[in-house]
């Protein structure tokens, strides 16, 4: 291993990671300045927190799908666990922790922990499967989480938390309050989420995922994706590294879920269904499997797009146009001619910028 090539390679991944941080920070700063000047509409402002949540969801799912190489269709299930545990935590701490940002941070940590626990419980049996089978089982687990939450009633009074499968069985005292009411979901949630919290969560997510990929464990995970048999033959523990990637992904999804749940006054379990899992997967696939930056951009653009299409004459066709754009993006990104053209353009631009670098470094 020559020292020179090593420093070059490390520098490239570091630069890539730094570009991602810089991109997020610049967008955040620009948005804050524009909000300060009143240049951003209410619609966009109301989308900022969900955009942050979906960005974190996409980046964390990319860890499972793009970097670990296993197809998971139950990512919304972890978001759901995080959302409801986060809401319950925030409600419990209403009096104990008066500072809203701190309460939000604790709720997000709780959400992450519950997401992670869910990830371990699901990951241990499921990650022994591969390919389509894994996809089917994760899908089923996502639906199980949704259905369990739909029959769960959780209430709070001075005696602590009450759990039941019917509202009448909660047996709350006079001052008690039902937090989660089965299919009615959690209602009357105090709105704690903020764009700043979402921004910090994205930075944390980037830090965790990018450093993981760049670590010894990350290389083991990548090797599992590229050739499982070869990786096993050199002594890499398949279960350990698969579980590591899967659980980290679930923790981040749980934290994003807590942020999401605390951004709305009501949250229902049916929101986190199969469709949401697929939506996040669409962000990952369109952004490019394994590409963190692609996931961020795709999640942000595709979350904002249906709202930006609420304009004038096209309002009636906005879901149709949204679908057409999705198809076009998919076709364009998979078109070899166009990709060749884009690659060439990128190379040329890079060539101008980094003339002193070798061709190998620019690839």
């Amino acid at each position: 291993m020559s020292g020179k090539t090593k420093t070059l390679r490390v520098r490239k991944t570091t630069v890539n990671a730094l570009i991602n941080y810089a991109m997020v920070i610049v967008v955040f700063a620009a948005t804050q300045i524009l909000i300060g000047q009143g240049a951003i509409s209410n619609t966009i402002q109301s989308m900022l927190v969900p955009v942050c949540c979906y960005v974190v969801m996409a980046v964390s799912l990319n860890l499972t799908v793009g970097i670990l190489g296993e197809l998971s269709l139950g990512h919304a299930g972890f978001m759901s666990l995080g959302a409801f545990s986060g809401i319950i935590a925030a409600t419990l701490l209403q009096d104990a922790v008066p500072a809203a940002p701190l309460r939000l941070a604790i709720a997000m940590v709780v959400g992450g922990v519950f997401g992670g626990v869910g990830g371990v419980i699901i990951g241990l049996p499921v990650l022994r499967l591969r390919g389509d089978y894994l996809a089917i089982v994760t899908l089923a687990f996502g639906e199980i989480i949704k259905n369990v939450i739909q029959v769960l009633y959780i209430g709070l009074d001075e005696n602590g938390l009450h759990f039941a499968t019917k509202e009448a069985n909660l047996a709350l005292s006079e001052t008690g309050k039902a937090i989660l009411k089965g299919p009615m979901g959690a209602t009357g949630v105090a709105k704690l989420a903020s764009f700043t919290a979402g921004f910090l969560l994205i930075l944390i997510t980037l830090f965790v995922v990018q450093n993981l990929v760049d670590s010894r464990a990350g290389r083991a995970i990548l090797s599992l994706r590229d050739n499982r048999i070869a990786a096993e033959s050199v002594g890499i523990s398949v279960t350990k590294y698969k579980l590591m990637a899967f659980v980290i992904s679930a923790v981040l999804a749980g934290a994003a879920g807590a942020l999401y749940g605390l951004n709305y006054s009501s949250t229902v379990a049916s929101k986190f269904d199969f469709n949401t899992s697929i939506l996040v997967l669409v962000y990952v696939v369109l952004g490019g499997l394994g590409s963190i930056r692609g996931s961020i951009i795709a999640a942000a653009v595709l979350t904002l797009l249906p709202e930006l299409l609420r304009n004038g004459a096209i309002n009636d066709y906005r879901m149709l146009i949204y679908a057409i754009i999705l198809i076009l993006v998919m076709l364009v990104t998979n078109n070899p001619t166009l990709r060749g053209g884009v690659d060439m353009a990128v190379k040329r631009i890079r060539g101008i910028g980094k003339k002193e670098q070798t061709e190998g470094g620019a690839q």
Binding site: S41, N42, T43, Q45, S46, M47, P50, N147, Q150, V151, K166, E167, A168, G182, P183, M184, G185, T187, G188, K191, Y260, Y264, S265, S266, T267, V268, S270, K271, P306, E307, L308, L309, R310, N311, G312, A313, I314, N315, D316, R318, M319, I321, I324, I325, L328, L331, V332, N335, T337, L338
Partner: protein, 407 residues
């Protein structure tokens, strides 16, 4: 290469169209703003323009309900504007796809449009989220069909045109008991749906108080469920004489069919207002004898109702259901309340940012005042309490000869 070019062209056209439309819209907005300025000066044509912003699902699983509320309100707006009175309404309806997240951004889109009054949402979960926002921002909100008590709880600015879910369950239990329809009742409901669960729980909690025995509670998880023989068999085995099913009409149609054709089980079937629409999807023979609680009977011969039904059928080619009727009534209730505000011209002349707050306070005080009563096509003499819930007489209809017959 040709293919590639074609694709580029297609992409350019799509984005071009998008750009054009957004350009148009800003133009429209500018024009509207101009109108508003004009409306403030009584010198223009004297009319006060109030902007009503509707929210509901136009796409997604619940689109049929959202579209009905959108269209019902549209008819009312057109009628009011055709009257040419002092108050003219501008109406815009935004899609929420039945999801809280989208509903909140739809609401914010309406805020960007300088909306004065919020009409909606159609479904419960989005409505709870939007209600929290309107409460914080001080907009008056009237929902046609979001029936959970959570919608209005602790919010002085949110009002309902429909019965609350538990209220409907209680009314149904009272009706069954008072008319001696049955003593042993089976309940089938969708436990994945807030509306259905809310009514069922209200019914089950109230039933023992009026001497009804709930012999079995059967649930299904989703409206896309297709096999109900398990639930029906359980009701039959428990000896239910009446099956209460507070569910939407799509699964209800299957239940009626399977009870008759597969199990030969024919109890009385009793539904809630979500059952409205059943006549469009089942045979006359299956629906015969079905009872439902609904505020609206499209086959009524009353003049106002017949007039509305005729207009709706002419415009949209289908018979309106109770969602459309609720929407129609919402707009008229808002209009009637607006007419009773003394300083409306003064409020209308305010800056948009202050106007909605002043209008909200004025409308709330009109709606909650004891002498405000509204009569529409979903009931007469409706009044509202400070909790936002409507008080009106419930109506039970029985299906006979392919039409509703009011009891």
């Amino acid at each position: 290469m040709k293919k590639f070019l074609a694709m580029l062209m297609a992409a350019a056209m799509v984005f071009g169209a998008a750009a054009c439309s957004s350009g148009n819209n800003t133009g429209n907005n500018g024009g509207n703003a101009g109108n508003d300025g004009g409306s403030g000066d009584a010198g223009n044509d004297g009319a006060i323009v109030i902007r009503i912003g509707g929210i509901g699902p136009r796409t997604g699983d619940t689109a049929m309900y959202g579209l009905a509320t959108e269209r019902g309100a549209q008819i009312a707006v057109d009628e009011i504007n055709a009257l040419g009175g002092d108050i003219q309404l501008e109406y815009r309806f935004e899609d929420d796809t039945g999801v809280a997240e989208t509903a909140v951004s739809a609401y914010n889109t309406l805020k960007d449009w300088d909306v004065d009054v919020i009409y909606g949402c159609t479904t419960t979960a989005p409505c709870v989220s939007v209600a929290a926002e309107t409460y914080a921002d001080r907009y008056f909100q009237l929902t046609p069909s979001a029936s959970s008590t959570d919608v209005t709880a602790d919010k002085d600015n949110v009002f309902q045109m429909c019965f609350t879910d538990p209220g409907q369950g209680v009314t149904a239990a009272d009706y069954v008991a008072e008319n001696g329809l049955a003593t042993k009742v089976g309940v089938i409901y969708n436990n994945g749906d807030a509306y259905s669960t809310g009514i069922a729980q209200g019914f089950i909690a109230h039933a023992p108080e009026v001497g009804l025995e709930v012999v079995t509670e059967q649930t299904f998880p989703d409206d896309s469920n297709t096999d109900f023989t398990v639930q029906l068999t359980a009701c039959r085995d428990a000896g239910a004489e009446l099956v209460f099913m507070p569910i939407y009409y799509t699964p209800a149609a299957l239940i009626l069919n399977q009870a008759k054709n597969q199990l030969n089980y024919s109890p009385l079937f009793f539904g809630g207002d979500g059952m409205d629409g059943i006549l469009g999807v089942v045979d006359e023979s299956l629906a015969k004898g079905l009872m439902l609680l609904t505020p609206f009977n499209a086959s009524s011969t009353e003049e106002a109702t017949a007039n509305f039904v005729a207009k709706y059928e002419a415009d949209y080619g289908e018979t309106p259901n109770q969602f459309a009727a609720d929407g129609y009534d919402c707009v008229y209730a808002i209009y009637q309340a607006l007419q009773q505000i003394d300083n409306l011209a003064e409020i209308a002349a305010m800056d948009p940012a202050e106007r909605h707050t002043a209008l909200c306070d004025a409308l709330v005080s009109v709606f909650t005042s004891p002498d405000f009563s509204f009569s529409g096509i979903t009931g007469s003499g409706m009044t509202w309490g400070t909790n936002g819930e409507v008080t009106k007489d419930p109506m039970v209809v029985v299906v006979e000869g392919g039409a509703y017959v009011t009891q």
